[in-house]
Symmetry: C2
Subunit: 323 residues, 2 copies
Amino acid sequence: MNIDMIRAAAKRLDGHARRTPILTSPFLDEIAGRRVFVKAECLQHTGSFKFRGGWSAVSALGENARKAGVIAFSSGNHAQGVALAARAHHAPAVIVMPADAPAIKIDNTRALGAEVVLYDRATEDRNEIGARLAKDRGLVLIKPFDEPLVIAGQGTCGLEIAADMTAQGVTDADVVVCCGGGGLTSGIALALAADAPGLRARPAEPEGFDDVTRSLVSGRIERNAKVAGSICDAIITPAPGTLTFPIMQDHCGPGIVVSEDECLRATGLAFERLKIVLEPGGAAALAAALFHPDEFSQDAVVAVATGGNVDPDIFSRALDTLS
Amino acid sequence: MNIDMIRAAAKRLDGHARRTPILTSPFLDEIAGRRVFVKAECLQHTGSFKFRGGWSAVSALGENARKAGVIAFSSGNHAQGVALAARAHHAPAVIVMPADAPAIKIDNTRALGAEVVLYDRATEDRNEIGARLAKDRGLVLIKPFDEPLVIAGQGTCGLEIAADMTAQGVTDADVVVCCGGGGLTSGIALALAADAPGLRARPAEPEGFDDVTRSLVSGRIERNAKVAGSICDAIITPAPGTLTFPIMQDHCGPGIVVSEDECLRATGLAFERLKIVLEPGGAAALAAALFHPDEFSQDAVVAVATGGNVDPDIFSRALDTLS
């Protein structure tokens, strides 16, 4: 895994993925006590950064593999990213999703032309289900994070951050990334190390699901006690990946652990001040930037707002934090 | 009023206004029955396109006028645009606002450093109040739409649409604009006529407040019977301007009248499919594109999503349309 793979992915994504804007608000700066830059990846196709990795992986397939099709297992955002990328490449897609994923994510994935296979997150192993289906039908498995082509695709987000922040004269800052298995975080970390070494990636995770933060402290892969039961469902994974963890060890600063309530408040403030829609898991980095000022030292911070696929009832809870 | 004034405004805005993205979703295309492109001007600084006109006007002031300060009267979005532009230029700003404007708009305007003067929209004339204050304190009045520098600033949005749609190969389409007094609509119309003559601006207005649509039909300035009482408050004005109306007559296609319910549904769909926050008035153009397919003939339509400064309770009503 290296920067050249990210640059190659950027070429494949050019003209297909959206170059998402970096947004700011003086009101958020005031809350954080420093300048806050929000990379609005919720505006990416399918509403999350996952489209980057999906496109990167599908576009790299040979003609025959593309015809056979792809399979992915996902809490939802990876599913939509792979489904849309596959459809654009005329490749069949099978998506294995937890039965408790938000309804909108399941519906959207089906509407994007994929076949959806549901499983029970508490009792079944999605890796096993995915591997079996892949074997039975000759599908190429696109893992959600521990896969070089996917990490390379997510890393293109880091190339954009490096270029845009450098253009704005911000060369010394932490870049906080909502972190599940670490595909985006490690991809961004590699891109920043290459193109803007004064910018440092840092994972943000919800309380109770801080496997990456603890792994970075202990120096070995730590697992979460639970793998479900958070409104931050988009970034809940059992443990960091075997590919992503060493990259994060080499290039990331310490993790930041935020509460669900902080994620809801950050979602509400993103609504009020940036006019973007975030899901709570996609607001973890912004929550860290806004509500954990003591964990940063520079006068600027970048928060990657990773996704916005949220059910209206959860979003209403975020709106309630504003009153 | 001509294209050179818009190009000059674009130079003054360069590096200060945001070049807002054009967003798409296959789900919206399916509803509309054609490709839908949404110019997400809600992501502009202060949450609406009004920052463009505010910056254009304030940045054109001479040194002495800037020191004396500016005054504006506005239902809210123009207020915030002028307030932030004035603060950036170290110019004092007085904003005359209707007392029934959304609380968030009044609060935000004050927080951006402006002095806010409230008036009763039903019984008082904001033009009169503005003129008196301007005279008493030596302030430069920045009208919300019927002012060449403001039209020029709003027109920069049209330059961006012309360039971005041409780059995407879309050269024949209607560009629907949420329309109040016609500052944005006329500015965009001029820009499109110059840079992308196959793109045609068309105003979208809420039922009961369709002064521009009726004026374009009758060929003379028609007034609304009411000047308050719509959730589309951002685009409610008594009548088109004397500067903006002739420009719209020369360059715009017919107006499109949408219901409040359609605006709420479009706001909900923008939340669900584009991950942007719109106010109902800022969703009028998208509502026209999605729910009035028979009023268009080309296979693509551009909707300008003009603003996102919405109170949570109104936004909750938009979310309710999704279930």
